[in-house]
Symmetry: D2
Subunit: 364 residues, 4 copies
């Protein structure tokens, strides 16, 4: 049934999972190339990008030129048919169309876009500002945020990875929703992202001269991750959770710092809150719960990794709980998470290709 | 009674207010030198800085060398006795001591430090982490945040200027506290400041290699501006207001972006909220209320100015009101505000030395 | 003969020089608006910008909104006819066309573009990559670099301001060309500019994500300022000077740092070289010659000013002389220099509108 | 003869080369930890750092916490005795002392400092500004810049790795010295480095507030890499080469961009020059010679890698040849090069631990 013909000699490693990336010229796509080239169970057989077809990928990313030397191809669903897994790192709108073209013809699709995260075409139209290109697909994808929604991932053949802001904010807020004394019906989020979140493109608003020295909120009350966050937390808590989400643009290339605040009734103990977070993520290899007395999360602590660092802080003065969270928006917020959900869907170790092989540690 | 002897020839402009700056080597001090040198009613007769005495001020700030060429002096209260006004841009702890030495010997003291903002020695000890050096002065200073607390400023001879975070966050939150439908007993604040807020000093934590590409919260639940903000808003609203304040360090040199969130009961109209903010600041020349449909506040919009830009946004999804505020931490958050309160205390036009002379506009 | 009709009431200050700016939406244009609004002898009667006509200028530059509130107009030569002076801050190619439309109809034209700096259409085509739009104008403009070419400026009615790189590098190199022991036939220049030099526009190459953390040379051997520098230095030295010019893009918003190296025969004394530079610029209020033992030029020392800081260093190890120079590319490299040459052409004090009025200094 | 006793269970991988790092808390030390932990033939048995002993290394570098979890130890030569290889990432002055303590007691020492790069105590005193702490060691170390000085590396037991600036500038200049038509007796170098080159320390001069938006030259004519570069190029060319070296501090965390200029007699062909560079480095896996028509070197192209990208450009206008070079100062300029020379000294593949295992490429 497989039809990938281009280079049969490449098909020799029969135990490797054959994958392709569509949208490999963008920043998240570049991280996918890097991660999949280092993945012990993956063979990357094609990288596609409409606008850069014919170029060598290393021309776009010379600092990774030693990792991948092939040409970028145009996206042709017929060419990809038969592959085990295809990762889509496309803009929303374009991604659902690609899913439609590939579904049933490849073993598994990992979609990094927002197209299949919401289940309602009207909600999509409201928040994304366009008609959904394939509304019949809505509801068919498993949501890819493994620490909170692990169960449906094994074996899933269509996964909509959580958004970057949606990942760090849900990971930060979720454990608090069940804590005694925490008022869980309203969650206030302020978060700031680096410019790579806006994608690789020419835009005056993200030009160096405009962003340098600046810090500003944008799309307040209108950001498309808002319903994703509110919906996710509501499903997780099994009751309605209202979310106020204020995104900011920060003068950094990559990373997100999120600050989540919930009211408290009474005064929870700091040690209890910390223990609850540690417990919630005890089996999550990519969430590092930090004791705020020791160190607070910082973007630099996670850049280049798939970690999400979290620190819950009881603020007695404010009668609230503050949870600080940081991720690399291109890794745990995009490509790293895509590989993580791929691992879980494919039955591989969750950390494969993302952490050094545990069979080789220091001094062991 | 005046005793300023050092250079009698300088005393020729009898209509000018004779001032000195103590702490002129720091970043806020440098802004004070700049502003006072351009102030139409001020003669700057001395700049002092303990660690840099004997150096020429322009050696520290060559990009302002054309504005001021004198040597920096050591701080000697006897030398300053008899001056009309002394601005103190000293670290907390040191500043109250200087106030004690100058009080009664100069006409007016404008203190930029946090030493005299709180009224309780125990509260000071808790938040500033040291014993107050002059507890007898507590309560004797007028609080310098003119847009909210204007009345006691005219004629005041000791003014404790509001802190940088405390300025932008109180300006952002105060009008909302009286709005129908707004739950005003809890205010959630996330704010980020540039590194100049930490002062001009060697510190690994604010070294370029550590701050570049980073974004992180610090002193969560412990920042010394927290009681100042809560106290100020409580006085303004005439009822207790709890404040959760989460400061962040951003990789910019100057500027603060603050995001303030309050719950709403019901759904206030965006137009009503905007009108309420416009009304609250209609007589405040340095507060620019922005319609969020037109443009959201950005640090770059205010850097180099004494403006505070504010935009209130009703977030129906979150059932909340979000107020965005930005200032230049060294101007509206320090030196600019100091000049503004000085103007008001001295009976000068509020904008003197801060905005172009209104008697000369474009084309008029 | 004047025909500026738009707002006769504005024409009341008969002693003010009436000016307009064409290209006021760009970064250099914005500096021109700022400087001319503060200029004691200028009335700014119109700001024009094709792409932004109808917008209020302060929408583009909110941090300068207090300086200028009028609408931006489209550029209409008939409307500007009769004005005393028009400043053109347009891209090359467009600027010469505007000069053609305005010449003879306004009193004076100050052109910030590169269109009229070279005198030969073929040379223009080679370096600027396009046919000159008005070759009949070539040779008719006075070159605007007052410290080196002062004589023809008084009374000039068409001035082509020197380019940003060309300004700092010629100021750095020129005095050395006549020094005994210096081999003056070859000048090696490495210089780095901030991104504002590329203009206010959307471009992937100057997007924040691409420039952040980067440093790179560009257009090596091909930059259009090369013949301007070589031609200027040759005219200044009155013999052919070959120039190797290597421009770089630096991750700063504004400023240029230039490093100029010339061989030496024998070993000039550092003190002699320094004295020669001090002597060369003793009457140049905007050139600050620095003793390298005290402090080396830095971009931060000149940002926001019209200064050019220079430090000559004899390098005995290398048998060479190194001259370091820095300017703010938008001021001494563009708008500031334009005002400076305007002052000289109009018979005003050279520093008018650029330095604080010398009639009011500190303590005087 | 080995005496490393601390944890015998760690000694089980008998085929692994047992190494330690002294100075593991600094930026270059952190890169060493990262590289050696991923090196297929190395077992890292101890990391030492005087000031951080007792802390866990991951506390200092949380973004690498998954790579190494052990405590930092104080440096005790007795404890390290018997190890195969010790890497020293210490400040100059301290490093030679450590060499003295370790020499003869460990199999091999790789010194990243400048202490053993020069061969003359007087020259060291002149350029480093201190008395050499172990002059008897001068001349005993092999110089570690493999692309130019490969021969003595195999088997060497004491290697002084080339400095960061010295690496990129020598690689850029060396092939040109033998080219016909190139005047090789004088080399002009302008280079800029990120702040990590100054080390991990508190210093006002490298604080964020001072470096942000700045660019400046420093130590002109005085930088300690000057004699290293001149000496290296003279040895390579087998005749005296004079070097003018102008270092700059750039507002980036890591990376160096160097611009090297040499005069030409006559006009070499660009294609010949390019071919000569390609030929010179054809067997150098970490030097990528770029055709400047395709792309010019950029810091971002090499950050995070051990590559040095070079592009030679014939500048006919200037009658010169310009060679652009970039490296990551912490990798090819420090830790990466240290691993590279270690590989060559130990008889391992040159790229081991630095490039992906060639036995596993994409699709192969």
């Amino acid at each position: 049934m497989r039809s990938w013909p281009q280079d049969p000699d490449r098909r020799t490693k029969n135990d490797m999972i054959q994958t392709a990336i569509v949208g490999a010229s963008g920043y998240a796509g570049a991280e996918l190339v890097t991660l999949l080239q280092g993945h012990p169970h993956v063979e990357l057989v094609a990288v596609c990008a409409a606008g850069s077809a014919g170029e060598r990928w290393e021309e776009l990313y010379p600092n990774r030129g030693h990792l991948f030397q092939d040409q970028i191809q145009s996206f042709d669903p017929d060419q990809l048919a038969g592959l085990d897994t295809v990762f889509l790192a496309l803009p929303h709108g374009a991604s659902a169309t690609a899913v439609k073209q590939l579904k049933g013809r490849v073993g598994r699709i990992i979609d990094l876009s927002g197209d299949l995260r919401l289940n309602d075409a009207e909600e999509y139209r409201q928040w994304y500002g366009l008609e959904h290109p394939a509304p019949e697909l809505l509801g068919s994808a498993v949501y890819g945020l493994p620490e909170l929604f692990a169960r449906p991932l094994p074996g899933a053949d269509l996964i909509a990875c959580a958004g970057c802001y949606a990942t760090v904010t849900q990971l930060a807020a979720a454990p608090a929703l069940a804590l005694p004394g925490v008022v869980a019906d309203q969650v206030h989020i302020s978060a700031a992202s680096g410019t790579s979140g806006a994608g690789r493109k020419a835009d005056l608003a993200t030009s160096f001269s405009e962003v340098f020295g600046d810090l500003r909120a944008y799309r307040v009350g209108k950001h498309q991750h808002t319903p994703e966050i509110a919906g996710g937390l509501s499903r997780y808590a099994n009751r309605p959770v209202r979310v106020t989400f204020v995104p900011h643009l920060a003068p950094i290339e990559r990373g997100i710092a999120a600050t989540v605040v919930l009211h408290c009734n009474g005064t929870p103990e700091q040690s209890d809150i910390l223990a609850a977070y540690e417990s919630a993520y005890t089996n999550s290899p990519f969430v590092r719960v930090r004791d705020p007395e020791d160190h607070l999360p910082a973007v630099r602590h996670v850049v280049g990794t798939n970690f999400c660092d979290l620190a819950p802080v009881v603020d007695r003065t404010g009668s609230s709980i503050v949870i600080l969270g940081v991720i690399d928006n291109l890794l745990k917020g995009a490509a790293g998470q895509a590989v993580q959900v791929f691992n879980l869907a494919a039955g591989l170790p969750e950390t494969a290709g993302l952490l050094p092989d545990s069979s080789r540690g220091q001094g062991s």
